[in-house]
Symmetry: C2
Subunit: 372 residues, 2 copies
């Protein structure tokens, strides 16, 4: 395990490289903007902790008014519960009995919810929950347009009926997240995609209620589309995650009209380790930042970042700005924040900006690497 | 930190998913093939530990006859030294004085080497080493064709002179690794690239010796090209890493004539968590396997793996084979083994095959995440 790359009170220049740094002033403005949005639009906010994987941040979000957090993995739920989070929704399918048993064994004061999209998933969940004697909220996941997990809208009723047949399972509503819509660049494309998601959720809800089963909540939505779900009148809860940090890929989206403004709040601090005629090399390759949504951008400088492998990034000039010198700091905005966070063990929170800030906190990323 | 996904003695079916599994029979055949190659060709073998990041494996390689290992990061050197490895070459540039001080503070029975490609790098290294009172082997890195770190051949002499001017630094030769050559698909392309690397190394060696400085060793080469460097008469040491595990990307290379045969020896065990009309979903997304060199392939099955995001993989049929059922195990061959290993905390070593094998060891990936 890597030692923490900084200590509280360190100046920003003392942070070891490469390190993941939260610009905490921007981060707090992002949280405040989302809090205000959810309050004013009458939807519950359940931020997705897959972005930060950090119980310190999850507790902060809950203290501000979030109802709890989402996670994708049982291991993440365990890590966040160990960190003090008391309301966790595993917004994903879990099939392995050993994983379900671990979830069911969490302290009973942890409010748990989970998504299901199959009969076998419900049966295995019911067996694990029955053994524990606890109760769990169950959301039937529908395919809201992503084509990944989730049943067709018409199938939601049958699964809801399967859920309510089990004592330990409480049918809590529908999980209807359209991940594929989040990064559609134009407003029109996202509107079309979420119109589809809302239609699927509406149809699924009807399929459930037609069986005489109450459908208390539709939950879903991410940072690229949450305005649309919130405006639908169908969704009662939104699950954005990336809004807290933002990343280079989200910055390429055309903003929805009326959207709160979110700022880049997470950066990789890198150092120039080599400089040659046409390029400089920094000590941050794709072992320090995820590349699934594209390469990082170089913050405040006019260089193109090119992939130099696991441990190296290449900076090429895009204009007249001279290349940085060996030893210089270069700040990178990750292409995709969630899997970038997963590559690090600590978030270094800096107050006062990236130029002259001071380390205010070092947050362990305690759900990092929880693939289980 | 994730708990180990298996215990010694577990049957293969009991390994938690997703998990990184070493098929130890294939792994040992890979090691034996490379050992035999190096012996018969009269080159030193210094495997690159960037592949496995694991001191248990590094010690195994050294016990078989490797002279030591390479790493890319000071943090990796610290982790492997803590695990008992006693000969480590940081085959990369290090500029931060704090990092150099950490390296210099390693126990004096750890034989250290490092690469340099700048005057400032040499001066900072010399200062750190002088403060420690130890001696370190220094390799001047040349750009052997990759266009990343490394000076031009003609500049190597001046840097070698700079190195020998410092008491604590021993000029040990040239680092001449052509990373870009490793994955050129055709034999002809790789031959051309390594011909260039050999020419650059030859010219750099001449530039050094023309100043009256002995050049003891040229080191470099990876799993895609090591036959060519070994045959050159110029390289005295090879640094392959991926041969131990192999990955889907290396499997796409046309093999060099006379190359030992390497087998896939590392796999991601995944489980089907959802199944729909046209696809199945496994619990292994790009948080469990690196995608910089392409997506994983599905081992022994005729499905196409599509990226389903951080936590999901999508399996689509490519022929008549029916989709797997919910709960089934699916084995993935990672696109690129090195950064895939970095996503995990343990390597689960299975003896007896992926169908009916038994867990023989669980190796902590103790240099995982050492970006520092």
């Amino acid at each position: 395990m890597r030692p923490a790359p900084a200590r509280v009170g360190d100046p920003v220049d003392a942070i070891d490289s490469p390190a993941l740094v939260v610009e905490i002033d921007a981060f707090e403005r992002n949280l405040a903007a989302m809090d205000a949005f959810a309050r004013s639009h009458g939807v519950r906010l359940r931020p997705h902790a897959k972005t930060h994987k950090c119980s310190a941040i999850a507790l902060h979000q809950v203290a501000r008014g979030a109802v709890g957090v989402c996670v994708q993995k049982v291991g993440e739920a365990l890590a966040l519960a160990a960190g003090g989070v008391r309301d966790v929704f595993v917004s994903n399918e879990v099939i392995a009995p050993t994983k379900l048993a671990r979830l069911a064994a969490l302290p009973s004061d942890v409010q748990l919810a989970i998504a299901v999209d199959s009969v076998v998933g419900i049966e295995r969940l019911a067996a694990a929950i029955q053994a524990s004697g606890r109760q769990i909220d169950v959301y039937v996941e529908i395919d809201a347009g992503q084509g990944r997990c989730g049943v067709l809208a018409a199938e939601a009723g049958a699964l809801a009926r399967q859920v309510v047949a089990h004592d330990g399972l409480r049918f809590a509503g529908l999980q209807a997240y359209h991940g594929g819509a989040q990064h559609l660049r134009s407003v029109a494309e996202r509107e079309t995609a979420i119109r589809h998601a809302v239609a699927m959720a509406t149809a699924a809800r009807a399929a459930v209620t037609s069986l005489g089963i109450d459908c208390p909540l539709v939950t879903g939505a991410g940072s690229g589309s949450f305005l649309l779900e919130a405006a639908s009148g169908v969704y009662g809860e939104i699950q954005p995650g990336s809004y807290a940090f933002m990343d280079a890929d989200y910055a390429r989206n055309a903003p929805l009209p009326g959207s709160p403004r979110f700022e880049h709040a997470v950066f990789v601090r890198s150092q120039v380790i080599a400089r040659h005629a046409a390029h400089a090399v920094v000590d941050a390759g794709h072992k320090s930042h995820a590349i699934d949504s594209g390469l990082p951008t170089v913050w405040g400088r006019n260089f193109e970042f090119r992939n130099g492998g696991d441990e190296h990034g290449l900076l090429h000039p895009r204009g007249d700005e001279p290349l940085p010198a060996i030893g210089d700091t270069v700040w990178l905005v990750p292409g995709h924040c969630d899997p970038t966070v997963n590559l690090h063990e600590h978030l270094v929170a800096v107050r006062g900006g990236l130029d002259r800030g001071v380390v205010e906190a070092v947050w362990p990323i305690d759900a990092r690497g929880r693939l289980d």
